[in-house]
Amino acid sequence: MKKGEIITAGLFILVALIGIMDASRLGFGWEADGPQAGFSVFWLALLLLVCAVLLVVINLKKTDPGDRFFENKEGLAEVVRIFFTAILLAIGIVYTGVYFATIGYCLLFVRWLGKHRWATVIIFTIIMTGAVYFGMEKGLKLPLPKSLLWRKGLFPI
């Protein structure tokens, strides 16, 4: 975990530095009518920076590397697979709309990660896509992103 701790704290340091830079651009002092726009940003970013740097120092001083971030390779692979498929779903929503993306995601996830039979995969995909369409779009009347074909008036979803 030591490496993971240092990398994560490093990311917070980066966020803090970006905050300080932006606060410097906006000004973090006192104007005639009150604190400048960067006032709160600056002090919070500074607090974040100090805490994250302290965390890095504490971890660098540790001699014991601690537990591994991923207990085994299977754990890492599983997390990557879940995150990767979620990214694909988000990209799919942008380019094909929520329904085609849902179909693709369900087919991929349930078959590849869930290792279910094709019959289960297909039935699940139909139920899931139908539930999103009738539940959200028709039932709750919440508009969801649609495909290019819908935008051209060629397809209902």
Partner: protein, 507 residues
């Protein structure tokens, strides 16, 4: 007398058919969320927040609160039957609940847990009714410095009394507050932390970030853990009339302990940063410490179920009190409920009690109704609820991930929010693995904008001097306590170092 009249108005709202329907749906969804290890009450409430735009606010809050109660009850089932906590506050139930289930007393253990949950909620609800109005009226005296001081107090309790390390809690809090600064500054109109992009101009919305941190992040943790966790021995749930009678008798026999745990849980729950989880452990610890037979704990003692469960549910109820009276959430789920209030254009505090009595008292009355309805549903539906655990992971996960993305999108119809959920899902996973507390981040996201506004207003009143916080009596008291709590981890560290030095020194 006035309180009683208000409560009657509240029951009038809670007993309306739409309220009863939404409450039942909320309870069932909450129970499902509580049973599922991959999804917690916070993510559940955040996911369903957009649905509430379709109903009046007083029904919306009853629906969201019902999900919350359902989640509080739901974790019981998996802890006792599978030794897998559905929610963090049900961990303490495993110690004695699972051994009881293995001894063939699963039904009795479940019934005792449900009855003590009910007692916990009812005791807390009575205190809620008694304290809500006076607390809200006391807050009438608050100006911007007092409000800023009370927010500092909320953040400081996470640092001083929280279970995470102080540095990591401060990082979570300051990071959450920084996120709320992104977008247009409401006072000067300057774009902050937008990096010249249009997408960042609208800022980070609370819901997609929370869904990412508590929903998607949890799914990844769950996906990884399922490889190493094995369900030890599946005990089938059967709840007969004898078990129910036994549960009631056990609670009656140990009523003093259950009542004490509920009282303690309620007051622990009021403190921000504590919530139901520490309350349940505290309840268990006290029950064991003051027991005449502490050796039977861990082997199936019924008191080991009654005390933590009553404390956890009372704490869950207590966490709503500062949320509704002062606008300070006592737990991350209460923070999401608070975000709901803002979404409906309502401001918690004394004005809410005076201007929206139907909303406030409807919620308060629903505490009693939801607690009772949940008890009945659990006693009847435990076998069905337990079967949710057996839904294959490969089918459940896509449902949750798709729900997370849709829930994020529909808040503002922005794809940016879906990307936010994805990024914060990854971050939530890493932070949780490294034991960063996520509750302060969620609370900071809700309170951030207001905290900054109150700070700026106070500084303008004080002509730029921080002395304004120490010259007004109420804000001075809050600030001194907050500063003490912020410094508490440093005191503890110095004390530990001195102690270890003394031990190292030759005699």
């Amino acid at each position: 007398m006035e309180t009683l009249a208000n409560l009657l108005v509240g029951f009038g709202v809670a007993f309306q058919p739409l309220s009863l329907f939404m409450m039942t749906v909320g309870l069932l969804l909450g129970l499902a969320v509580g049973v599922l290890p991959g999804l917690g009450g916070t993510a559940g409430v955040a996911l369903l927040l957009p649905v509430t735009v379709l109903v009046p606010p007083e029904v919306g809050i009853i629906f969201l609160a019902a999900i919350y109660w359902g989640a509080l009850y739901g974790g019981v089932i998996t802890s006792i039957l599978f030794a897998i906590p559905g929610e963090p506050w049900s961990v303490a139930l495993i110690f004695d609940g699972y051994p009881m289930a293995k001894q063939g007393k699963a039904g009795l253990a479940l019934a005792a847990a449900f009855v003590s949950s009910f007692v916990g909620i009812m005791v807390a609800a009575v205190f809620f009714v008694t304290l809500a109005m006076p607390l809200a009226l006391f807050a009438l005296k608050f100006g911007p410095p007092e409000m800023f001081a009370i927010m500092m107090l909320a953040f400081s309790t996470f640092v001083g009394l929280g279970t995470g390390g102080a540095l990591k809690t401060l990082i979570s809090t300051s990071f959450g507050l920084l996120l709320t600064m992104a977008g247009l500054d409401v006072v000067t109109g300057s774009p902050r932390l937008t990096f010249g992009t249009m997408a960042f101009l609208s800022g980070f919305h609370f819901v997609p970030v929370t869904i990412g941190l508590f929903g998607l992040g949890e799914i990844m943790i769950d996906g990884e853990e399922r490889l190493s966790i094995e369900i030890k021995e599946v005990i089938h749930a059967k709840l007969g009339w004898e078990d129910i009678k036994g549960g009631i008798m056990a609670t009656k026999e140990h009523f003093g302990l259950t009542l004490l745990s509920a009282l303690m849980g309620f007051f622990v729950g009021i403190l921000p940063g504590t919530g139901a989880t520490p309350a349940s452990f505290l309840g268990y610890g006290i029950a064991k410490q003051y027991s005449k037979n502490p050796e039977k704990y861990g082997k199936g003692a019924i008191e080991g179920i009654l005390a933590p469960q009553a404390a956890a549910n009372a704490a869950g109820t207590g966490a709503l009190l500062p949320m509704i009276s002062l606008g300070i959430p006592g737990s991350p789920t209460a923070a999401v409920l608070l975000a709901g209030l803002y979404m409906w254009g309502l401001w918690p505090g004394p004005r809410l009690f005076l201007e929206e009595p139907v909303f406030v008292w409807g919620l308060i009355a629903s505490l009693f109704l939801s607690g009772t309805a949940c008890l009945i549903i659990c006693l009847i539906g435990t076998p069905v609820l337990a079967s949710i655990m057996r839904i294959p992971w490969g089918l459940l996960t896509p449902v949750i991930v798709i729900a997370c993305f849709i829930g994020s999108y529909v808040m503002r119809n922005l794809m940016f929010d879906v990307w936010c959920t994805l990024v914060f899902g990854g971050l939530g996973y890493v932070m949780k693995k490294l034991k960063y507390p996520l509750a302060p981040l969620a609370v900071a996201l809700v309170l951030g904008a207001m905290t900054e506004r109150f700070l700026r207003q106070s500084l303008i009143i004080g002509d730029g001097s921080f002395g304004i916080f120490f010259t007004r009596p109420i804000s001075a008291i809050f600030m001194v306590v907050a500063l003490f709590l912020f410094a508490l981890p440093a005191f503890k560290l110095i004390k530990d170092k001195m102690k270890s030095k003394d031990e190292e020194a030759p005699a």
